[in-house]
C-alpha cells in the first residue's frame, strides 16, 4: 500500500486562532480515508492547505513521496489533487462544459472549443457512471447532479487524489448511496479519496480509515472495524455524547396548527407548495422530511408570516393566520427557528442582548412608552445566556463573533423563553457540532413535553426519525405521505423523499 499524499506537521494560523496545530495526515492509494470532526475542528482548513488555497505557516506536504509547495490550486491540480467543495464552486449561468473547462480551456485558435470539451465530458461520465449533460445550464440542474459535475470537473483535470468536503449534506439517502457507489468505482480505478464529514453513520458505511480532528489537532486514527459511533462521537467532542435523545411518549392534545390546501408561489411566480394539508397538535413533533428545494423553505415562510400564501388556509391555535404578519403570529404564540440563522435569525452586528429581544422589544418590560429599558434588557440577556448555556465572553459581544452552535443557541433562547404554542424549527441543527445538536434536540423535546406543538423541517433523516412523533414527507411541493414515526424506516422515507408513493393496502 503506497502513500500518495502525506501532510507532516501542518501549522496554520488565523488571527486569534490556531486552526491546524502540527497536523499529520496521510492517504494511501485507492483508499477512502474519512476526516471526521466538528465544525471548527480544522478539517476544512487542512484541506484548503492541501489544495493550495491556503499557505501553511509550518510543516510540509508530500505527493508520492516528493515534497511539494502549493502556491495556488493550479499547483495542486498539476500534482493530481482535485477538490469538491461543500459549497459548490460552480457558476450558475454557465453550462456544465463551461464550468468544467474553466481555467483549463481547450481552444481552437482563439475560440473556445466547446465541442471537444463536451465530447471528453461525455466520455468521462460514461466511464465512471456519472451522467451529466455538457450543455445544460448549471442553475437548471438539481443539487445531486451539480455535485456530479464537480466530481467530473476534478476527473477532467486528471485528479488521482479527490477531496470531498461534506458532499452528502445536500443528498437524499439514495443519492448518498449513489455517491458511495461512485466513490468505490473511483477507488477501484486507483483514485484515492479524502472524505470529510461529520455524519457518523456514513463514516462507518464507507471508510477504510478514519482520522478524527478536534480543535486543530489530530485526536487519533482508527478503522470502522475498531470504532463504533459512540466512540467516534466521544473522540470528536472530547467527552461522551448521547446520540439518541431520550424521549417519552408524546401526549398530543388539540391541533395548534391546521393547514388546509396551502399553496405558495416563489419569487418567480412558480407554485412551489401545491395544496398541502396537515396538522400539528399540542405536545407532538411533526417532522417534515425532504431534500432541500422541494418547497420547505417557502412553506416555512408562509407559516411564519414571511411570505403571503397564494391559496389555502392556515389556522394557528384555532384562529385564522393566513397571510398574517410575523408580529401577529409571534404575539399569538408562534416561535420560529429559521433555516438561515445568520440572515434571518440574528442581526449579526448587534450584541447578544439586543438579539435576544428581537421579538419582544416592543413589550414591557423591555420598552415603556417607546423607550427601551436597558436594565431589563441586560438582565434578560444575562439570565438567558446562563440558562441556555451560550458560550460567549459576555452578553454584549456582537452575534457575529459566536460559533454557529452558539448563535443557534441564542436563537433558541430567544424563541423558547416566551410563552409559545407552536415552534417551527427549520433545519435547526444544520452545520452544528455534535454537542450543540445534542442540546437543541433536548430543547425541542422539552418544549414538546411542555405541551407545545413542534413543526420540525429537516433534511437530516436521522434527526427526523429521532425527534418526530409523526412524519410527513415533502416532494416537489406536495406532502406525499404522513405516517406515525413508529412505522417509518429510513428506506421508506428515502424512497418517499425521492418521489415514490406509499403502496396503498
Amino acid at each position: 500500500m503506497d502513500t500518495v499524499l502525506e501532510a507532516k506537521g501542518i501549522v496554520k494560523r488565523f488571527p486569534g486562532i490556531l486552526a491546524n496545530d502540527h497536523v499529520d495526515f496521510d492517504l494511501r492509494r485507492g483508499e477512502i480515508h474519512v476526516l471526521l470532526g466538528e465544525n471548527g475542528a480544522g478539517k476544512s482548513t487542512l484541506m484548503n492547505v492541501l489544495y493550495g488555497l491556503y499557505h501553511p505557516d509550518g510543516g510540509e506536504i508530500l505527493v508520492k513521496g516528493k515534497p511539494v509547495k502549493f502556491d495556488s490550486p493550479r499547483a495542486a491540480i498539476a500534482e493530481g489533487v482535485g477538490m469538491v467543495h461543500q459549497h459548490f464552486m460552480l457558476i450558475p449561468v454557465f453550462t456544465v462544459a463551461e464550468n468544467i473547462m474553466l481555467g483549463s480551456e481547450t481552444v481552437k485558435g482563439l475560440q473556445l472549443d466547446r465541442k471537444t470539451v463536451a465530447a471528453e465530458i461525455s466520455r468521462l461520465s460514461h466511464q465512471y457512471g456519472l451522467d451529466v449533460d455538457p450543455n445544460a445550464l448549471v442553475q437548471d440542474l438539481p443539487v445531486g447532479v451539480q455535485q456530479r459535475v464537480e466530481i467530473v470537473k476534478a476527473l477532467y483535470r486528471k485528479a488521482e487524489i479527490l477531496i470531498l468536503d461534506e458532499p452528502t449534506a445536500v443528498l437524499t439517502p439514495q443519492e448518498a448511496d449513489d455517491l458511495f457507489r461512485i466513490m468505490r468505482e473511483l477507488t477501484s480505478r486507483g483514485v484515492s479519496i479524502i472524505f470529510i464529514t461529520h455524519k457518523l453513520r456514513e463514516v462507518l458505511a464507507v471508510s477504510d480509515r478514519i482520522t478524527v480532528m478536534r480543535a486543530g489537532k489530530v485526536v487519533g486514527s482508527t478503522t470502522p472495524a475498531e470504532a463504533g459511533e459512540a466512540r467516534l462521537a466521544a473522540m470528536m467532542v472530547g467527552r461522551d455524547v448521547t446520540l439518541e435523545v431520550e424521549k417519552g411518549e408524546a401526549q398530543p392534545g388539540a391541533a395548534v396548527l391546521a393547514v388546509k390546501n396551502l399553496s405558495v408561489r416563489d419569487h418567480r411566480e412558480i407554485e412551489v407548495v401545491q395544496g398541502v394539508s396537515f396538522e400539528v397538535r399540542a405536545g407532538e413533533v411533526l417532522g417534515i422530511a425532504g431534500v432541500q428545494g422541494n418547497g420547505q423553505t417557502e412553506l416555512a415562510e408562509a407559516l411564519t408570516g414571511l411570505r403571503a400564501p397564494h391559496g389555502g388556509e392556515v389556522r394557528l391555535g384555532g384562529s385564522d393566520a393566513s397571510g398574517k404578519t410575523p408580529r401577529y403570529l409571534v404575539q399569538n404564540g408562534l416561535a420560529h427557528i429559521p433555516e438561515d440563522r445568520q440572515k434571518h435569525g440574528l442581526v449579526l452586528s448587534y450584541p447578544l442582548n439586543d438579539n435576544l429581544i428581537l421579538c419582544t422589544y416592543c413589550e414591557k418590560p423591555f420598552s415603556i412608552n417607546g423607550m427601551l429599558q436597558n436594565a431589563a434588557i441586560d438582565a434578560n440577556a444575562f439570565q438567558l445566556v446562563r440558562q441556555f448555556d451560550v458560550r460567549a465572553p459576555s452578553p454584549f459581544v456582537p452575534a457575529s463573533t459566536l460559533s454557529g452552535g452558539n448563535q443557534q443557541k441564542v436563537i433558541v433562547a430567544r424563541e423558547l423563553s416566551r410563552p409559545i404554542k407552536l415552534l417551527v424549527a427549520n433545519q435547526p441543527t444544520r452545520g452544528l457540532d455534535v454537542g450543540s445538536i445534542e442540546y437543541i434536540h433536548k430543547q425541542i423535546i422539552r418544549k414538546r413535553d411542555e405541551g407545545c406543538g413542534v413543526l420540525l423541517i429537516s433534511a437530516e433523516l436521522d434527526e427526523i426519525l429521532q425527534l418526530s412523533d409523526r412524519i410527513a414527507v415533502m416532494y416537489r411541493g406536495m406532502i406525499t405521505a404522513i405516517l406515525p414515526a413508529a412505522e417509518a424506516t429510513k428506506e421508506t422515507l428515502g424512497l418517499l423523499m425521492a418521489g415514490a408513493t406509499l403502496e396503498k393496502g
Partner: protein, 356 residues
C-alpha cells in the same frame, strides 16, 4: 438579449425613422432620408457603443463603472490637446497630429481606468463612489487645464486659442460607398468604423474566447474562478483598464471626429446613457449596441429634423424647439430603466470586492 427586446428596439427605430420620412416627405424621397438617418445614427452612436463596451468589460469582470462619463471627458480633452500640441508646437501635419491625439486619448482613458481599478480592487472602495471620483476628477482637471492652457495670457499658447488640426476625415469604403444613394452611409470617419468593428470583436471575445470565459467567471463567482487557479484581482485590473481605453477612444470621438474643439462637459451624459444601453442590452456587446442605436437614432432624428424646420406642419411646430427632440434620448433612457421591457440580470458578483 431575447427576441422581445430586439423587437422593441426595432419598433422604436422604425418609429423614429418614420417621423423623419413623414416630415420630409414633401421635399425629399424616403430612401434619401433613410440613408441620411442611417449615416447619422451610425456616427452619433459611436461614443455610446464604445462607452457601453467599456462598461461591459468592467462590469462583466465584477467592477461597476459609473465613471465612463469622466473617462470620456478626460480623454476628449487630452486627445484634443495632444493633437493641437503636435500640430501647433511640434509642427506635425494635421492628420498625424490627430492620430497621435487619438492615441493620447486611449492612453488617458486607460489611466483613468487604472485609477478606478486601484480604488475598487486594491483599496476596495465602494465602486459607485470610485466612479463618482473619476467623474468629478474629470470635470475638475479638464475645466482647469482648459482655462489654464488656452485662456490664460501666460498659458502655453499665449492666451490665443490655437487653430485645431481639424477632425478625422471620412473614409470612403471601396465598392460599398460607390453605390448610388445608399453609398452615403458607407462613408464614415475612422472611430465610427472602429466602433462598429469593435462591437463584434468584443462580442466574440466575451463569449467565445478564453479571456471572455474567465472574465465572466470572475464577475459571476470569483471564488469558483479562484479555485481553478484564476487570479481574480489581476483579471479585474486588466479588464477595467481595457474598459478605460475603450472609453478613451469614445472620448477621442468628441474632439477629434465630431467637432474640432473642446467644451467643458461636452460629453453631455453620453457616458451614463452608455450604461443604460449596457443594462438594457443585458451586458452583451451586440445587445448594448442595439440599445445604443435607439438613442443614436433619436439623436439623429433631432439632427435631421433641423433640415426640415420650415416644412413641419403646424401641429408639429413644437418639434422645432431643439430641446423637445433633445429630450428624446434621455426620456427613452428613463423609460427603459424603469424595467418597462422586463428585467435583465447583471453579473452576480459585481460591486463586491474579492476577499480571499
Amino acid at each position: 438579449m431575447d427576441l422581445k427586446r430586439f423587437l422593441f428596439i426595432g419598433f422604436i427605430i422604425v418609429i423614429l425613422f418614420g417621423v423623419v420620412v413623414l416630415v420630409g416627405a414633401s421635399t425629399t424621397p424616403p430612401l434619401v432620408l433613410i440613408v441620411s438617418m442611417v449615416a447619422t445614427t451610425l456616427s452619433v452612436v459611436t461614443p455610446l457603443a464604445l462607452g457601453s463596451l467599456a462598461g461591459i468589460f468592467c462590469e462583466r469582470s465584477g467592477v461597476v463603472n459609473i465613471g465612463i462619463e469622466g473617462m470620456m471627458l478626460t480623454a476628449a480633452f487630452f486627445g484634443w490637446f495632444g493633437g493641437i500640441y503636435m500640430n501647433t508646437i511640434l509642427g506635425l501635419d494635421p492628420l498625424p497630429s490627430m492620430l497621435v491625439g487619438v492615441l493620447v486619448a486611449i492612453l488617458t482613458g486607460g489611466l483613468m481606468g487604472l485609477l478606478l481599478a486601484v480604488l475598487s480592487v486594491t483599496f476596495k472602495v465602494e465602486q459607485i463612489i470610485g466612479g463618482t471620483v473619476v467623474n468629478i476628477l474629470a470635470i475638475g482637471v479638464t475645466g482647469f487645464l482648459n482655462r489654464q492652457l488656452f485662456f490664460e495670457s501666460n498659458g502655453l499658447f499665449g492666451g490665443q486659442l490655437p487653430h485645431a488640426p481639424g477632425v478625422l476625415p471620412r473614409i470612403h469604403i471601396p465598392i460599398l460607398a460607390d453605390i448610388p444613394v445608399v453609398g452615403k452611409m458607407f462613408e464614415q470617419q475612422p472611430i465610427t468604423i472602429a466602433a462598429i468593428v469593435l462591437v463584434f470583436v468584443c462580442h466574440f471575445v466575451i463569449f467565445h474566447t478564453r479571456w471572455g470565459l474567465r472574465t465572466r467567471a470572475v464577475g459571476e463567482h470569483p471564488r469558483a474562478a479562484d479555485t481553478v487557479g484564476i487570479n481574480v484581482n489581476r483579471m479585474r485590473y486588466i479588464n477595467v483598464v481595457i474598459g478605460g481605453m475603450l472609453a478613451g477612444l469614445a472620448g477621442a470621438y468628441f474632439t477629434l471626429e465630431s467637432v474640432p474643439s473642446f467644451e467643458p462637459l461636452m460629453t453631455n451624459g453620453r457616458g451614463f446613457i452608455s450604461l443604460a444601453a449596457m443594462i438594457f442590452g443585458n451586458w452583451s456587446p451586440i445587445g448594448a449596441w442595439a440599445a445604443a442605436l435607439v438613442f443614436g437614432a433619436s439623436n439623429a432624428l433631432q439632427i435631421n429634423i433641423q433640415f426640415f424646420r420650415e416644412m413641419i406642419p403646424a401641429q408639429f411646430a413644437f418639434l422645432q424647439q431643439s430641446y423637445v427632440l433633445g429630450m428624446v434620448p434621455y426620456v427613452l433612457t428613463m423609460l427603459i430603466l424603469t424595467g418597462l421591457i422586463g428585467k435583465t440580470t447583471p453579473p452576480a458578483a459585481e460591486n463586491q470586492p474579492y476577499e480571499k
